[in-house]
Amino acid sequence: MNLAQTRRTVFHTARRSRHRLRHAFLSAAVALALWWGLVRLFHLPEFLLPTPEEVALRGWQAIQDGTLLHHTWITLQEVLSGLALGAGSATVVGYVLAKSRPLERLLAPYLVASQSVPVVAIAPLLIIWFGTGLLAKTLICALIVFFPVLVNTVVGIRSVPEALRDLLRALDATPWQVIRYLEIPAALPVFLGGLRIGATLSVIGAVVGEFVATDSGLGFLINLARGRYDTPLVFVAVFTLIALALALYGSVLALEHHFLAWQTPSGKPHR
């Protein structure tokens, strides 16, 4: 790519993201106005639905006294460790299943059956077995992350073109070289799609765990605030969770931009 092309691409990208940013701001402004109008129109009390400015004020307080940061940090730890454990183990198991049809036939019924049990139902058991600390929460997050990443790993590895496998075999590639030069890059688009879903699900897992039993985290903060009829704080915690999930989603998107630039003509991956 020459300099002129590079500059053109940078220019287009910048203009497009500016465009997108303006749309996001616009829709946020409309939503806030509707929210504000709803409260004013029906004279809703604060404990039912606080106004945007009441929520903002409560958020500022929670930031200043450190509670928000403390609980966010706890939840973030659970989310990230659960995501790492769930996605990591799902990748290994998924790879093995993709390689062995008999093993897949043997294990698939159990894996599918495990998906019909909602994590909310197992969460109390995990709390009983592993306590109310980080470990139980990590396991709950990992459980919920596991399946989508597993499925996408299997699909990704299975989608590796047979002709390229033949080519590498004819070139006497070692099994490790096949993984490194062919399977990882070929499966990456589908795999990252699974990771993107898993990242947002991990946030749900953490909140489920914190709802069941704990003394910290954003899920706990929601419960606590609800008990005190501190509805603005509930909103603050919910918005923080949304921001957390969006940030994780955005991180995976950034990974996709970096690794999958070859996928689309504009040099940017599909959404």
Partner: protein, 258 residues
């Protein structure tokens, strides 16, 4: 050339694919021939006759059910092969240069050396200016040139081509014929090319093997005594016509007029 041992010796080769009914599908039956070093061998036959199966056996991708495939010039093991399919089968995430240098990377050749050899190959194949392009930006003919470059970069002992020009338009095909001849003259690799085009076989090869319907065995081996260097125009000469006629008769697709 005759004093050298053959590069490949195929003896009584048989290939049977297992099927659900247990009878098996016989693709190749009792096929024997030799490939000499630096020879350009074409294999023609009716479609579905097992030509590609033969190529897969030569590439070491498929085990012979019966008989043997020996490499007398390589007493310990098999020769290095280069492979080109009907489709280019490039890695879409790798640039043209990185696709071409893949065999060198697999062999552990240092990056700097791989790059310089890759760039030399890019120049040879008329791909200058495309080193950093991605496969999605290439035309069919361009992609096939890259596939050919990838198959030649590690200087294989045996270049295996499986209908490499079938998917291309006529003009591109003719240009690539001449380029392949040019490169073959330059590198002197042994080539086995599977094709269903009589013209392509005669223009490129030293010898043409005609296979029968499945299960494939040898129908005829025709030495092509056309002078080299050859150009695509050679096909309008009377001698070419005679050879083509013999091939077509052997293939059974054309009955001679009375």
């Amino acid at each position: 050339m005759t004093s050298l041992p053959p590069l490949v010796r195929v003896r009584h080769l048989g290939v049977v694919f297992p099927t659900e009914d247990g009878l098996g599908l016989e693709a190749i039956r009792d096929l024997s021939f030799e490939i000499h070093p630096q020879e350009f061998l074409a294999v023609v036959g009716p479609s579905g006759c097992g030509k590609s199966t033969l190529l897969r056996v030569l590439a070491g991708l498929l085990e012979a059910t019966r008989g043997e495939v020996a490499f007398p010039a390589h007493p310990q093991g098999k020769p290095q092969v280069g492979l080109v399919f009907q489709k280019a089968n490039l890695m879409p995430w790798r640039s043209v240069l990185r696709n071409i240098t893949l065999p060198l990377e697999l062999q552990g050749v240092p990056r700097a050396e791989a790059d310089s050899r890759g760039r030399a190959m890019i120049a040879l194949m008329g791909l200058k200016g495309f080193a950093n392009a991605l496969p999605r930006d290439l035309s069919g003919g361009m992609a096939q040139r890259v596939a050919l470059a990838r198959a030649l970069i590690h200087r294989p002992d045996l270049l295996l081509l499986d209908e490499p020009f079938t998917a291309l338009d006529a003009l591109t095909r003719e240009r690539l014929w001449e380029e392949l001849l040019h490169i073959w003259q330059h590198e002197r690799t042994t080539v086995v090319m599977v094709t269903h085009s009589v013209t392509e076989a005669l223009l490129l090869a030293d010898r043409v093997l005609v296979l029968t319907q499945r299960p494939a065995h040898l129908q005829m081996a025709l030495p092509v005594d056309l002078p080299r260097p050859r150009t695509a125009d050679l096909r309008y000469t009377p001698h070419f016509g005679r050879l083509a006629r013999r091939l077509r008769e052997a293939l059974g697709g054309h009955t001679p007029r009375p």
